[in-house]
């Protein structure tokens, strides 16, 4: 531990708590001194401080000690009073303001970083004026009546030798009415040590007169107390003191002023001796003596047990007597004052033990008397004494805290004392390395005076910075608090000045006054900014930046203000009002600067870089933005077989161009002059308030041509900003070199908007998209550079993508302008119903001068869209679909080829010329419900062969929503009574919610089928309209026309039957039926078939149907008004579920009349067997009439091995298990009972051979005669026969492994024969 006396606090105490000498002098003395530029006190001051006085001192104890250091404080009598608080305050304020101005000059530099600060020595970190401020603050409290150490110990009476009647002057000087109040009001003993000094100015003449006066004085005042001082011995101003001892004591001295110029070395020594003698011969002995006297008194009255008891009792009795806030008034003669004086004198003479014991003694007294101020003062001194004794730190701190708290308890009266006490305490703590505690004490010193608080808080913050380890969080917080207080004093002074009603003429002056301390505020906040740099505590960051920004703006330093305000812009966490405030202030400040700010990475609005999307067109062009956003792979697969393969194409044109184009740009993107490059950027407003941004545009660099680019940026790059192009290197109109689009938009709070910006290069060269810029208000321009590595490029380049270096993403080679086709499909619906059939027109237009040729088109989904013929362009729809008898129906077949290829080739002779357009018909049919994406790509070649690109493609993309309309299903079942005839049931359900469809037509596809209505539709569906949710079932008869020749059934009228179409509409309707074989319908039908995986040439046993209905007035836009929507439904491959290759029909009489009395009845039957397959069939018919025969024909009964034996008896039919799975148990039961009851009935027997075998040639019909013998009348079921058939496939079919059934066993059909007894 260092000697406490050598610590800063110790030194300060030894300086400050020293005996005071009151100086009373005549004006003539002052006059003489002023010749040297010094007052009398100033002249003496340098000689009051003795570092080695070496005086033996004996105080209360008998053991003397030697005093080495000693100091006297000299004051004029008029200054010995409590300083005026207001004056003191003003003075302090000035001190601070000056310091603020001085520091502020450094403020233009960057704020120091915290880490730099920490590495510096302590003395550099702390502003030097703190120390000065603290000392000034302590001095404001001198000459308090509750402390004795400021009370003058001695009085120095000075009279000039020029004065008239000097002796009388001496008496006059110590006149009571001129003396300070301390002596007059009894706070101190007026009988103090007096010392008489006669000053002689040698310039006035010789000193004989003075010595004469001295002897006179000696006789009057006593020989010891009088002295003569001769000054100004030097006659001319030659004396220059090398180390001018007066300089520190005259703070406002000018450097040119020669202080003490008339004081020569003799004077110098004389003054020195005078002061030395005064202190060692007079003051110290006087104090010694006084201590001894007082000590004796105190011992007599207060020491000892008896005295203590007496004292206690006496004080208790006094308790209720005095209740004034400061306790009783103590005069100098009171014991308490004397003890205090004793303590203070002892302290000043460094007898700390004695001082401490007296302070202890008096403190209890004051406490009991509730003289709080005095109590606190004594406690304070106790703390300091403990400190100087270097004993018991705890005690010292306890005493300081006690004193501090007691002063605070006094309220405003004690505030100043508390501050002083706190400062001493702080120093004490600092010396003991308790810097954190010191900081808290600084914090506690803060009073209501904002200026003092601000300084104290700033000092506290430095304490935190200097503590080990540094407490940066606290440092920042206290800096901010301090800054707020500095700011607050400005506001206080502002309001004060307004109250004073200062005239307007001085208002500018006042304005300056307002912002006296704002510089300090800025200084503290600037340090705080460096502490809070990069913090994620958003509110803190906003607060600091907002305030410092505002304050800079107050001072007119708008540039700095703006940099701070910029930090605030993206304050999404703040409330709406705060955001508004921030934005408004920011814009105001920006406006005040009067210039345009260009801010890189402006945070408002935020840009979502990952959303960046570049759309450009090289050989791929897009009809719409939607087409551009489709994945490249989709297009790639679509175009694969249409365009020349990429690798060859690339090598072709690159090889051609390799001389022209430097290799490093080979991999660049290519775009065409005159065609826009679109960049999609997403802007997000992070705030809750709406902002509007203006003139959003791209920043691009376009170098005029490739050669210039080769020489690597020799300054010829044209930087384009907005439309104002700054360069003028080329002779051409530079405005035409590129066009940038500008977008204005307004973003609501939290809104995200995708903005499409375009740049259109006009000349060949290299175009680089650098970034995006926008204007937040009229004067803030935000920039954002697209950094290539963070770029997510949506337009991939297929295989070549891997070769790209990221730098090239936004670099384009602009090639000379090329023809470009623009295409649109007119009136393609966005929303439609399944089956909707339309006639659309594709329009291709060419804007350029050069024609294009060799057009090809590919459609992703031929089920939906088909190219038509050129002659269909202007046809009337749907009338064109009507059946025309005279048209040879061959078009459908030619189209099949087109569909197969999937690529539609436009006729060779077609080329799209300049400024013309080509229209081409398209057929559309909504095949399936759902959201459908249609991709159409059109390939075309340039006629101009010299161009870099040989071909281009136009990509079109449409999305459409297809709603379910009608659900059509068909079911075929064989007609039981007719060979080659089928019953067709059609179920139609309207699946829509509101639409009403009108049924129109059902057609079967294929020539071999005839279709006819079983009953007119009028009877089922009188209105012909199918309302929402309604279902319709219709029955049709379907006949295989190929077999009709062999059929001997009655043929219905050919007009009805000989067609594959059935009109379902009203009979009277004259509307033509639609031709399902003509181009669009047939094409779509083929697509449907393809889709269902069927060969185009179908199996004859499968039937395709086309059901056509109309939607008269729908919610769907039909393209043309008043035209009904035509809805077609295609059902392919409807087949009979159990339809086999062999079919047969037993034919014979239904009823036979026979007289059984004669003979048994023989009935002849015919069986017609048809082989409809392409193979030869062998058929065996086995009849059986008894169980035995059934068993014999084991092969026949083999399929039914599980039949119960009783069922095999009798003539009843043997249930065919695989056909009758659905028979319920009671149905079986009735059958059994029936069979039992029929057991007795005589049977019929088959006549002839029980097994007949025959071969059937392909597609032939054979007839077999059958005969039965019936023995009794009755109804017989002639189904007990089995048909075994076996196809003998041809060799090639075998190889194919045909899945169709090649053999089978069929049970006979029920055939009921009624035999009646004839009469």
């Amino acid at each position: 531990m260092v000697d406490p006396a050598n610590t800063p606090l110790g030194k300060m105490l030894l300086e400050e708590i020293t005996p005071v000498v009151m100086v009373l002098c005549t004006p003539l003395v002052e006059e003489s001194c002023l010749k040297n530029g010094l007052s009398f006190i100033q002249m003496l001051s340098p000689f009051c401080n003795f570092t080695n006085i070496d005086v033996p001192v004996r105080t209360a104890s008998d053991q003397p000690y030697r005093l080495q250091k000693f100091k006297l404080r000299l004051f004029y009598a008029s200054d010995i009073r409590q300083p005026n608080l207001e004056v003191a305050k003003e003075r302090l304020k000035q001190v601070i303001t000056q310091a603020g101005e001085k520091d502020f000059s450094e403020m233009w530099s960057d704020p120091p970083q915290v880490n730099d600060l920490l590495s510096r020595p302590e003395s550099e970190i702390l502003p030097s004026w703190f120390q000065f401020f603290n000392e000034e603050l302590v001095r404001t409290l001198s000459f308090s009546d509750h402390e004795a150490f400021d009370h003058p110990v001695a009085c120095l009476l000075v009279v000039s030798s020029r004065d008239e009647e000097p002796i009388n002057r001496f008496v006059d000087l110590f006149n009571t009415n001129k003396l300070p109040s301390l002596l007059n009001d009894g706070a101190m003993d007026p009988k103090i040590l007096k010392h008489y000094l006669l000053v002689h100015d040698n310039q006035d003449g010789a000193s004989e007169k003075a010595t004469k006066l001295l002897t006179e004085m000696k006789s009057t005042f006593g020989p010891n107390d009088c002295q003569l001082l001769c000054i100004n011995s030097s006659q001319d101003r030659q004396i220059h003191h090398q180390e001018n001892p007066w300089a520190p004591f005259k703070s406002d001295a000018l450097p040119t002023e020669n202080l003490g110029c008339f004081l020569n070395f003799d004077d110098f020594n004389e003054i020195k001796d005078l002061m030395q003698e005064l202190s060692s011969k007079h003051i110290i002995p006087y104090m010694e003596q006084k201590i001894r006297v007082l000590n004796q008194q105190v011992s007599a009255t207060r020491k000892g047990f008896r005295n203590q008891i007496k004292n206690l009792w006496w004080r208790k009795g006094k308790e209720d007597a005095s209740d004034s806030p400061n306790g009783p008034v103590y005069t100098f003669s009171s014991v308490e004052s004397q003890i205090r004086i004793l303590g203070d004198y002892a302290f000043m003479l460094r007898d700390y033990e004695l001082a401490l014991s007296n302070y202890r003694l008096i403190s209890t007294d004051y406490k009991l008397d509730k003289a709080w101020k005095r109590y606190a003062g004594v406690q304070e001194m106790m703390g300091l004494t403990y400190f100087l004794l270097d004993q018991s730190r705890k005690e010292a701190e306890y005493c300081m805290e006690n004193a501090f708290n007691t002063y605070l308890k006094l309220g405003s009266a004690g505030q100043q004392n508390a501050t002083r006490c706190g400062l001493w305490w702080v120093e004490m703590l600092k010396i003991r390395d308790q810097i954190k505690e010191a900081a808290t004490v600084y914090f506690r010193i803060c009073s209501e005076d904002p200026l003092h608080s601000a300084v104290m808080l700033e000092q506290a913050s430095f304490c935190y910075l200097l503590s080990k380890p540094p407490m940066l969080h606290k440092y920042g917080f206290h800096l901010v608090l301090s800054g707020d207080h500095y700011k607050k004093c400005d506001q206080v002074s502002q309001s004060l000045k307004y109250c004073d009603n200062v005239p307007n003429s001085r208002s500018s002056n006042i304005l300056q006054c307002f912002h006296l301390q704002i510089k300090h505020a800025i200084r503290t906040y600037r340090s705080a900014v460096s502490v809070y740099k990069g913090t994620t505590w958003s509110l803190i960051k906003d607060h600091v930046h907002f305030h410092i920004g505002q304050w800079y703006a107050f001072l007119g330093m708008y540039d700095v203000a703006v940099t701070h305000m910029l930090e605030l812009l993206a304050c999404s966490h703040q409330s709406k009002t705060t955001q508004e405030l921030f934005l408004r202030d920011f814009l105001q400040i920006v406006q005040k600067t009067g210039k345009t700010f260009e801010v890189l990475k402006l945070q408002l609005p935020a840009i979502n870089i990952s959303s960046l999307k570049v759309i450009f067109e090289d050989h791929r062009t897009y009809a719409s933005a939607a087409a551009a956003s489709v994945k490249e792979s989709v297009w790639h697969s679509l175009e694969e077989d249409m365009i020349p393969s990429l690798s060859t194409a690339k090598s072709n044109w690159l090889e051609l161009q390799s001389k022209l184009m430097p290799k490093k740009y080979k991999e660049s993107n290519i775009c065409v002059a005159g065609e826009a490059i679109k960049v999609d950027v997403e802007f997000k407003n992070p705030l809750q308030i709406s902002i509007s941004i203006l003139s959003v545009s791209l920043i691009c660099e376009l170098s005029a041509n490739l050669e210039e680019m080769n020489s690597d940026g020799n300054g010829s790059n044209i930087e384009l900003q907005n439309d104002e192009n700054k360069t003028s290197t080329s002779t051409r109109d530079i405005d035409s070199s590129s066009i940038l689009s500008e977008v204005d938009l307004s973003l609501e709070g939290g809104e995200t908007t995708l903005v499409q910006l375009t740049v259109t290069p006009r000349v060949e060269g290299i175009l680089k998209i650098v970034g995006v810029k926008w204007k937040l208000s009229s004067s803030v321009v935000g920039f954002h550079n697209f950094e290539s590595n963070s770029l997510n490029k949506n337009v991939a380049k297929g295989r070549r993508k891997a070769k790209y270096s990221p730098d090239n993403y936004l670099k384009f080679i602009v090639i000379k302008s090329l023809p470009k086709l623009e295409g649109i499909i007119h009136s393609l619906p966005e929303k439609t119903y399944v089956g909707d059939l339309r006639h659309l027109v594709l329009e291709l237009s060419n804007r350029s001068k050069f024609p294009v040729k060799n057009l090809k088109m590919k459609i992703s989904n031929p089920r939906f869209l088909n190219a038509g013929n050129q002659r269909e362009l202007n046809v009337e729809f749907p009338a064109c679909l009507g059946k025309k008898t005279n048209v040879v129906q061959s078009g459908g077949h030619s189209n099949i080829n087109k569909v197969l290829q999937n690529v539609f080739l436009f006729p060779e002779n077609i080329s799209v010329q300049e400024e013309t357009s080509l229209s081409w018909p398209l057929w559309f049919r909504a095949a399936v419900p759902g959201n459908i994406s249609l991709y159409v790509t059109i390939y075309y070649e340039m006629e101009d062969v010299s161009s870099i690109m040989k071909y281009r493609t136009l990509r079109m993309h449409y999305n459409l929503q297809v709603l379910p309309s009608l659900d059509v299903s068909f079911e075929l079942s064989p007609c039981p009574s007719r060979l080659q005839e089928f019953l067709l049931r059609m179920d139609v359900v309207n699946k829509t919610s509101s639409e009403c469809f009108q049924v129109h037509q059902l057609s079967s596809v294929g020539k071999q089928w005839e279709i006819s209505l079983l009953q007119p539709v009028d009877s089922i569906l009188p209105s012909q309209s199918l309302f929402a949710g309604q279902a319709l079932s219709c029955f049709f008869k379907l006949k295989d026309r190929r077999k009709s020749s062999t059929s001997e059934d009655s043929i219905p009228s050919p007009s009805l039957l000989l067609q594959s179409d059935v009109r379902l509409g009203p009979q009277g309707n004259s509307e033509a039926l639609f031709d399902v074989y003509s181009s669009p319908l047939a094409d779509f039908h083929n697509s449907e078939r393809l889709h269902q995986g069927m060969p185009l040439q179908g199996n004859e046993y499968k039937v395709d149907f086309v059901f056509i209905s109309q939607l008269l007035k729908g919610n769907i836009d039909s393209g043309a008004p008043n035209t009904p929507l035509l809805i077609s439904h295609h059902a392919c491959h409807c087949s009979l579920s159990s339809m086999s290759s062999i079919s047969w029909l037993v034919d014979g009489p239904q009823t036979v009349q026979h007289n059984f009395s004669g003979s048994l009845c023989e009935v002849n039957l015919r069986m017609m067997i048809t082989n409809s397959s392409d193979a030869v069939a062998s058929v065996r018919i086995s009849t059986f009439d008894s169980p035995s025969s059934s068993i014999q024909s084991s092969d026949a009964s083999a399929p039914q091995p599980g039949l119960p034996p009783e069922n095999q008896a009798g003539w009843c039919d043997i249930p065919v298990v695989n056909d009758m799975k659905v028979i319920t148990s009671d149905a079986l039961a009735t059958r059994f009972t029936k069979s039992v009851s029929l057991e007795s009935v005589s049977q019929f027997i088959w006549s002839g051979s029980s097994s007949t075998k025959l071969r059937l040639q392909p597609r032939s019909t054979a007839e077999i005669p059958l005969q039965i013998s019936v023995f009794a009348p009755g109804i017989y079921d002639l189904s007990n026969y089995v048909l075994n058939w076996n196809l003998m496939p041809s060799s090639e079919e075998e190889k194919q492994g045909e899945a169709s059934k090649s053999s089978g066993v069929c049970q006979g059909y029920p055939y009921y024969l009624t035999v009646v007894q004839s009469t």
Binding site: M471, H473, K474, G476, F477, I540
Partner: protein
């Protein structure tokens, strides 16, 4: 219920990952930032105290005027800081313990990246309910 209470969870990198004003007093614009300042400044004290004790609950460690900062440090050095003006040590301790449980549940969420902001509304409601219960 305390009239003023500000609860903040600070991650180990001194980043606030959850903030809630749970006091019953009417919200004031400038109070919010003062609270942040006080809590931020208290981090220094936490830094000193956290390693001197094995207890997670550090009690009231700092004060500013009549506002007290109580801190609870988890094993992962995540700090729960509560600024309050009420003197209810037991309640605050229970509050911290229950919030710790909630916080652990948040940590167990595989989609939660430790040290990132807690955005779960469920957590928020629970914390506010706990504040009503204990503070």
């Amino acid at each position: 219920m305390a009239t003023t209470a500000c609860f903040i969870i600070v991650s180990r990198n001194d980043i606030p990952i959850y903030e809630a004003e749970v006091g019953s007093a009417a919200k004031r614009e400038d109070a919010a930032q003062l609270h942040q300042f006080i809590l931020h400044a208290a981090l220094d004290i936490v830094q000193d105290l956290a390693w001197t004790t094995s207890a997670m609950f550090l009690k009231a460690i700092d004060r500013f005027n009549d506002l007290v900062v109580s801190v609870y440090v988890t094993a992962g050095h995540t700090r729960f800081m509560l600024l309050h003006d009420s003197r209810n040590d037991d309640g605050i301790k229970s509050f911290f313990q229950e919030v710790h449980e909630l916080y652990i549940k948040i940590l167990l969420n595989p989609l939660y990246l430790p040290g990132s902001r807690i955005t779960s509304s469920h957590f928020d409601t629970k914390v506010r309910a706990l504040a009503r219960k204990y503070l």
